[in-house]
């Protein structure tokens, strides 16, 4: 009963959306015949939300039906990710998933596994960078790692919750450089903004987050970005060296943003949205928007995206294991 009520209320909200965006109203025999809901597991105004809204706006234009972005936040993205996975697989509820979707299962959190989705396509992937204070005693990645080796607990790093991607990227790096991740001092924070504030106030030493998020502080002369935790350089930051170049290691935890639906949505929906995504990622206006926010455009089709998700999930699970985070 509750479910029916929810449906009609959602319908009412959808109708409000219809009025707002003024659709073409042309009757279509194929999907989509009505408004499509796009669930975003992160809060309004964040990077995932901004890119999701841009993609939704383009999808709306292509399919002539509203694509309503709905933020379902909480639990480190778990609430929204499981809402996507548990939606009715009729193609009218899709979502934007992030790399966190692969991390709940190894952490022992119930709700979502990587098998619960139909993967549609990736549109963005940005590496995580190592950022340090501008007035630190070292000014490159080698200096930083030497300091960590000298006193693993003395260098406080932050950027996300414990077990969050920033954390795993950092300890995965340390692990490959023969520093025991269990000894590293990770300061759990609720996202990168509070971590950057801590870095600027001089309370901590390292923030691992995307170079785009640290850019303003770098410009202000408060912080410096020393390396990308990745095996390839970024188009947007061609001068930033990678940890693979510097230390000759193989560790590339690449956060992604992509479209997915619940397991078992119709093939025609996957094909249609996959094709539209490919076109959108080639659209100059979309590329300009992404570049202006410091996001790279990195398209992958449904099959490749599915493989990427599963393989990065495995890499992260092993990083969690080495830090004693698995259940």
């Amino acid at each position: 009963m509750l479910h029916v009520k929810g449906g009609s209320l959602r319908g009412a909200f959808g109708a409000a959306g219809l009025v707002l965006v003024a659709t073409t109203g042309a009757a279509m025999a194929d999907w989509p015949e009505r408004a499509v809901t796009v669930i975003v597991p992160w809060s309004a105004g964040g990077g995932t939300d901004a890119t999701a809204r841009a993609v939704a706006a383009e999808l709306e234009e292509k399919f002539g039906q509203p694509f309503n972005v709905v933020n379902r936040t909480g639990g480190g993205g778990l609430v929204g990710h499981s809402a996507i996975a548990n939606a009715e697989p009729d193609g009218y509820t899709l979502g934007v998933i992030t790399i966190e979707s692969t991390m709940y299962e190894p952490q022992g959190l119930s709700g979502v596994t990587t098998d619960d989705y139909t993967y549609i396509g990736r549109f963005n992937a940005d590496p995580i960078a190592v950022n340090i204070a501008a007035d630190a005693e070292y000014d490159d990645a080698e200096g930083l790692i030497e300091a960590v080796k000298a006193d693993p607990g003395g260098i406080a790093a932050s950027g996300a919750n414990r077990g969050g991607l920033s954390h795993l990227a950092w300890i995965g790096l340390l692990d490959r450089l023969d520093v025991d991740p269990a000894e590293a001092n990770w300061v759990a924070s609720d996202g990168s903004a509070p971590a950057l504030q801590q870095l600027a106030s001089g309370a901590i030493d390292v923030v691992s987050t995307s170079p785009a998020e640290a850019q303003s502080l770098v410009d202000a002369g408060e912080a410096q970005t020393v390396a990308l935790i990745s095996s390839e350089r970024s188009d947007l930051y061609p001068d930033l060296p990678t940890t693979t170049e510097i230390f000759d290691i193989d560790w590339s935890p690449l956060p992604f943003r992509g479209m997915a639906g619940p397991d078992g949505i119709p093939d025609e929906v996957v094909t249609a949205v996959e094709g539209a995504l490919e076109e959108i990622t080639q659209d100059q206006e979309f590329r300009d928007f992404m570049a202006s926010r410091g996001f790279s455009v990195a398209y992958q089709d449904a099959a490749t995206f599915g493989e990427t998700v599963k393989s990065s999930g495995e890499g992260l699970a092993s990083a969690m294991e080495s830090a004693g985070l698995t259940q």
């Binding site: 939300d49 909480g74 609430v79 300061v187 759990a188 903004a193 950057l196 504030q197 410091g294």
Partner: protein, 512 residues
């Protein structure tokens, strides 16, 4: 800030399209804010698609003015129907509702609009002069300082909880306990979720706030306890009582210090990313009561605390933009969305924005100024309209409030789960109030609990478990000593009061 920049910014803001955006945003914000349960964050998020089609300055001006208006208008349902619009306004909802029940709804609303606008204007002026400097100072605050500030915020509970501090403490503890539900940031482990995915996101304060204040009030009405109150609320003393801004200048003359203290607190605390805005109103209300010559009048519809808290509320709003504009660190959801819009418009926030294009940030602050000026005339119409709300018969208004309760708690995360939380919170609130436990401290605990916990854990991780870390940084040390003195004085006066009671002397704190 050179005069030249100010002039150029003024020319930009006084363009027709910008002024139109400000006016449109203000009217829209007034409606959203006045609808119980709909928040300023929601108002902003709904505007984002519209900003795609606008030039940068009108787009930001639209967001700025709708937020300023929505936050102020959030006081309307707070005063009339006891549904606070924001966690900040929960600090003084009881006070303004008490005023309405005493037949002075017009006065409560006039204070809300007039002193919000004044606070906003003064806040914007302060920002124009000190913006980047304030941002630089705010950036020196780490989790150690945030921890002390959050603790100071919790201590105001003793001041907002009315006549019985022990019951206030119990309410606060309930709020703090609810705040522990959800995924723990430190370990990523679920706490008190009972396997529910929805609960792993924690209990959002908006449905709790709507439930505890509004739904419990409906229950009170149903059970007949509130019937007498409702009757007085529905018939304002006279039409004259609803005349907007009547006697407001007299209040300004009587309580100038409240306005000054409120705006000073708001402007400075508001600049702290993440905690500022909400804290300011609570601390301002507490400070006002502490230093008032007539603290026993607080909670009975006394204007003093209202003036201080509501002016702090709006002056803090503009300050919250400063860390976002200067360092790209958004302090709350609204500024986070606005930063996103700025990026989308090719205006990257950061110090370079101030160095290379100072006109832009100055124009943003100026639009805030204009939006606050608009509060005076729009507030006039809103107060006139509010009179009609009070004339609606109870049999009509109750279902409407109920509908707003449902919509507001549903819309927070687009799930029925929020509605469930609202209903449970309403029942709990009803039982609490029947037994004279104040409700505001629950909201305070719920809002500040996570802030306190996160900053405590972060600090302990940084200092590697050493408690003296809280006194090692100079600012943290100063704040810490201050908080401990306040704590000591609170406990001391409580013990003294208790002794007096035990000695059989009359104590005015127990008579109400």
């Amino acid at each position: 800030m050179s005069f030249d920049t100010l002039l150029q910014a003024a020319v930009l803001v006084l363009q027709f399209d910008v002024l139109l955006a400000i006016l449109g945003g203000a009217v829209y914000g007034l409606f959203i804010g006045a609808l119980p349960g709909l928040t300023a964050t929601m108002a902003t998020a709904l505007l984002v698609p519209l900003t795609f089609y606008m030039a940068p300055l009108p787009a930001i001006a639209l967001i700025v003015s709708s937020t300023a208006m929505a936050i102020t208008a959030g006081d309307i349902p707070g005063a009339l129907l006891r549904i606070p619009g924001t966690p900040a306004s929960a600090a003084y909802t009881e006070e303004s509702y008490a005023m309405t029940r005493a037949g002075h709804a017009g006065r409560a609303l006039s204070i809300g609009f007039f002193f919000s606008a004044l606070g906003g204007l003064i806040g914007a002026t302060v920002l124009l002069m000190t913006g980047p400097l304030l941002a630089r100072l705010a950036l020196n605050f780490s989790s150690f300082e945030f921890f002390w500030l959050a603790l100071l915020g919790l201590l105001t509970c003793a001041l907002v909880s009315g006549s019985n501090p022990v019951k206030g403490g119990v309410s606060l503890a309930i709020g703090l306990l609810i705040a522990t539900v959800g995924l723990d940031v430190t370990s990523g482990q679920p706490r008190f979720t009972f396997g529910s995915v929805e609960l792993s996101g924690g209990v959002s304060f908006i449905p709790v706030m709507i439930g505890m204040f509004a739904f419990s009030e409906i229950l009170r009405g149903l059970s007949g306890i509130g019937a007498a109150d409702a009757a007085t609320a529905a018939t304002p003393a006279s039409d004259g009582a609803m005349r907007p801004y009547r006697g407001i200048l007299g209040l300004l003359k009587t309580y100038p210090l409240s306005l000054v203290r409120g705006t000073a607190l708001g402007s400075s605390l508001g600049a702290l990313p993440g905690v500022g805005g909400d804290l300011a109103a609570w601390i301002a209300y507490g400070v006002s009561r502490r230093f008032s010559r007539t603290p026993q009048k607080f909670g009975t519809g006394h204007p003093e605390g209202l003036i201080e808290a509501t002016s702090a509320n709006n002056s803090g709003l503009s300050s919250a933009w400063i860390p976002a504009l200067v360092f790209g660190i958004p302090g709350d959801a609204v500024t986070a969305i606005a930063v996103g819009v700025l990026y989308m418009k090719g205006v990257a926030p950061g110090p370079r924005l101030f160095a290379e294009n100072p006109v832009m940030p100055t124009s943003i602050i100026l639009s805030f100024f204009v939006a606050n000026l608009l509060l005076f005339p729009l507030g006039y119409f809103a107060i006139k309209a509010a009179r009609m709300v009070l004339k609606v018969p109870r049999s009509v208004i109750v279902p409407m409030i109920l509908l707003c309760c449902f919509l507001g708690s549903y819309a927070i995360n687009n799930t029925l789960f929020g509605v469930g939380i609202m209903l449970v919170a309403g029942l709990v609130g009803y039982v609490m109030e029947r037994n004279n436990f104040p409700i505001a401290p629950v909201i305070l605990g719920l809002v500040l609990g996570p802030v306190l916990e996160r900053n405590f854990i972060m600090s302990m991780q940084i200092s590697r478990g050493n408690l003296t870390g809280f006194f090692e940084r100079p600012v943290a040390c100063g704040l810490g000593i201050f908080v401990l003195i306040v704590l000591g004085l609170t406990v001391w006066s409580a013990i003294k009061g208790r002794r007096r009671v035990m000695a059989g002397e009359p104590d005015d704190s127990l008579t109400s």
